[in-house]
Symmetry: D2
Subunit: 345 residues, 4 copies
């Protein structure tokens, strides 16, 4: 099969022939890739930023946002059969630890992360397990939803955790209306009656936010904190969801937060650096957010099938992976970049 | 009546004659003080650290941990009558805003804070309202429980919020076994089945922690993080409750926290300063904690009446307020200092 | 002032002159009625069914769904001034008990219920207290929202309690698309992403349900249980909200309930009569629902102001109260009947 | 191996030689039984009451409360090895459905129930899967904890669901202090600060309840409802946990329930038969309870290891299974009956 592989950090990926993955365990599932999302993390991987953290040996195949069709299954697999359309939860999990049993499989104590620490989906085929495939309606095309497997799932997960705080009359500020942000806005619209305020420096991103259901859009112009405070009657918002995490977003976000409010950290880059006296006197919270659980992904696919969540994508053939990465790096990529193996379109 | 008043920042308090407070509103309640807790915040007030924040005009009377007997009530008061033994919730709240109606009166949008921004309880009499008095069994003496009104209530509130995370098999680390910490440990014992690990530099404090119900005590000796990790199977604790908030406590606490764990900030002093990449990759939370609600105080008084929570106190006559403050400042005060007006013993 | 009063059970109400209510307590508020909803409970009151339960002495004035303008306030009232547009929470509550402080004022231990056990709103003026008035935008007319004060609030309250169970992919069955049901459907639409199935015998009611946002409407035709099971993949719905409570609704509803599902009882009439073996082997729940809290009412008014909840009403002058009651009794009343005092239109 | 099998309904079990179970799937685990609890359900099975419900074909082996040592494992099993001491969760679950992933494996859509619908643990060996074994400290003997696998787990599960309702100052009534009840009381003691009131007709059972941590014991003497109301200040208890479900327990329990309280149904026999008007006007809830999840069992084993939960047992050799069943049927069995295969003691 073909795969786009990283042989040396900082080098372009190499699209080459590779042996097909083999079923080795009874719960294994091999998926024929229909679309693989390209993520900013893939750029960081190429630059070696994850080398130590993941401990992966080169060469290997990135790609952690995958959807496709089941190709082959192990002897104990009962939930899918070859030919089924599936989206792939990014983690391979054990199903035995407390976290896996408690709706929190992301904190499985025995997990692997294809595309990060083992071979991923920039290839014709991907190996995962029965626990990680969500079966979809055959009418859905993998390329249209692949990027929900990680970017979309992360945004949805944060919204799902924030939703119980958002009753009628509350306000939520979404910082950053990009790839994750626009899924976040749609998820907020679907799950909560809160008033949605979106903050972003880009006019185009704010226009998109409006289409996705934002009630107010606020451009980053130096007065964004005042504008948000005005929109919230001077008190700030009950919830901030920060998809940026750098370049002033954090200071802004904390200043926009209401007493007893919660700040959901999704984007990363800089530090949360807040005096404890402020945390206690305002009784505010900072909530970390990683990718969502399998059940979260299943819910997100329901919203997608109901037409409540749409992804904006740009398609590239797998062979053009390095072009796609260059476009992403240079801000030329509109929507989420999706790589498609030859023959999968 | 007599009151200990602050006339100028940095000066000692002056115990002097003052007009008795008057009932002016129909919901007012005047309490004859039986005991008023002395708090480190009172030292900070004297030093002027709260001058700007509170905006209080000098002279005024500090004292925000008060218990006593009802002395006089306004025309609309129905829940207490003169002579009733009461502990006084530290805030005066409106009862009309959403927060007051939703179990979160601490975030009342129209509150006052006797002892901070209006006259407090270092006096024979204190003025509050019907909404802030918790009626107690007449057998309880105010001096024995006054310090639960703020210090104890803060510790209990944090524990109450943490309790749903603490099922059998979980671990909680209490950082700091002082005035708040020892109430926190007893509250954890009463409310949760978690294994309690207490970290403190002082041997005496750790011995007290053991008596209060700690399962493990860990001295701050440079290896405290390793020791706690060992006690938690290498994974860290599901919950950290930090009653210190400075001098290395925060770095230690974050390092002792399990994936997906929650860090309860109670003590203050330094900053929470953590990279967002750590917050999201570990999916950890920082939870601010202020003083508890009226209902929290009512619950804490129930535990006290049941003998599940005990306070350690040192008694001073109100006239000796400056001695008490000096003892507190110099570490000579054992347990919580309680000021008692003449005739109230 | 004019008031419609019940002098003898089973007699028509008598519209007559009555002394205006007087401010007697510092927290009292007198409201000039702009609209008072007519409820089936008012028929039951007239028939004497509530005589023993309420213990009210005749003659008195019914009317427990009230909105209008503030007319006069007691000396301690700070949240409204004469002229303010308000909707009136049906209960007068103490603000001091645990329930009032914990977001559950409906279970206040010292409450009164104007229109049930003291004089209500079928009159020019109604006496309540500061704690029970929700201030509205002056552009809202009381007659358009009065019936949300009890009927709408009850429906909203049940939905608010059910909402945490209703994530994407779940189904909720609404039994009964009448006065409460159509508010329930709109509230479900606003608060949850669940698929809404509405069951009712009336084609017209089902057509209205569709307009309000139902995903599926099922006519009661003897096969309604099978139809719902089919719509839920054979498993039943995670949540049933039963606005009927009689005439077969309960048996149907229990049969439509999924394993581990919850049955919200709102309508009343017959018994819940289910073998304990079924309750435990299916692990199902029955959840009682009374009218909502003040905060619930505030949230419902937010949804109304946002245009997410609409009431269908028919207007009658207060003088025609007995015509309105007859129309309600005979099924001639479309939407919710609203009584308007002379001069309030 | 030896097994006690049911060949015909109403006949005694037959202890006979049977082929050993074989590993057939990669996740299978075969457990050498160290102790198998005898349950009233086993009597009902023998009498044929479960014949239709379970659909099991005769002959087969009952026994659904099992603990022992791992004997053999399938090729994909990683969490236990032969020789490990284990308690066996009563259900065999798929690990793939939403319920299994959401902490609610009891509602797995693909489960089996050894001892009910396939061969159970009244035998030398039992076949289950990797997902159902909880590894224990080797110092624990299976016979001492086997009955926690179902009876204990059911009681714990109900308490675990009730615990969030039970803050300091609340009261909980436990109806029935038998096999399940005495685990329930100990679990309440460990998990909650509530005041525990135990109601039972038997003096001996009440004495045991006192030892287990009940604050008040109330004998069923015709005045038990009044006594409980008195103990709860006339208001009733926030929570009732009914381990009986027949012979007047339900009527009593509903009468002992506070406004807005919750009635946990565990024992079964008769019907919950309550007017909907009472359910809504008191806003009370009925909560069904089945056996607990795997994570619940893990928590219960933690409490057991900590010495917070003890089981009372009577030991019988497996060969004496019919004697044990007769003793249970005739009320001669003290504590929980445990069957032990030859050589397992």
């Amino acid at each position: 099969m073909k795969a786009a592989r990283l042989h040396r950090y900082h080098d372009p990926l190499k699209v080459e022939e590779l042996d097909e993955p083999k079923i080795t365990g009874p719960n294994d599932v091999i998926v024929r890739i229909g679309g693989a999302g390209l993520c900013r993390t893939d750029l960081h991987i190429q630059e070696g930023q994850w080398a130590e953290k993941s401990g992966v040996e080169l060469p290997y195949t990135p790609g952690h946002e995958n959807a496709g069709w089941v190709y082959e299954v192990g002897s104990a697999v009962t939930n899918v059969v070859p030919g089924d359309t599936v989206i792939v939860h990014p983690l391979v999990t054990c199903g035995l630890c407390r976290a896996c049993r408690a709706g929190d499989d992301v904190h499985c104590v025995n997990s692997a992360f294809p595309g990060i620490d083992v071979d991923g989906g920039f290839a014709d085929l991907l190996k995962t397990t029965a626990r990680s495939v969500v079966k979809l309606a055959p009418t859905l095309h993998p390329k249209d939803i692949a990027a929900l497997a990680d970017a979309g799932l992360t945004a949805y997960h944060a919204v799902r955790k924030a939703a119980p705080l958002l009753y009628p009359g509350t306000k939520v500020v979404v910082i950053g209306s990009g790839g994750l942000g626009h899924i976040g806005i749609q998820s907020l619209r679907a799950l909560t009656p809160a008033e949605i305020i979106v903050v972003d420096p880009s006019e185009r991103a704010l226009a998109l936010a409006g289409e996705m259901g934002a009630d107010h859009t606020v451009q980053v112009d130096g007065k964004q904190v005042d504008t948000v405070l005005e929109l919230t009657g001077g008190a700030g918002a009950e919830v901030i969801i920060d998809f940026v995490g750098e370049k002033g977003a954090i200071e802004d976000g904390v200043a926009m937060l209401r007493q007893a409010g919660s700040y959901f950290v999704v984007g990363y880059g800089e530090n949360i650096n807040v005096p404890t006296i402020d945390i206690i006197s305002r009784e505010i919270n900072f909530i970390g957010n990683l990718v969502g659980s399998y059940n979260d992904l299943d819910e997100l696919m329901t919203l997608t099938a109901q037409g409540q969540v749409h992804l904006h994508t740009s398609i590239y053939p797998l062979d053009a992976v390095n072009d796609a990465m260059a476009d992403l790096d240079n801000g030329r990529l509109q929507g989420r970049g999706i790589l498609i193996p030859a023959g999968a379109a």
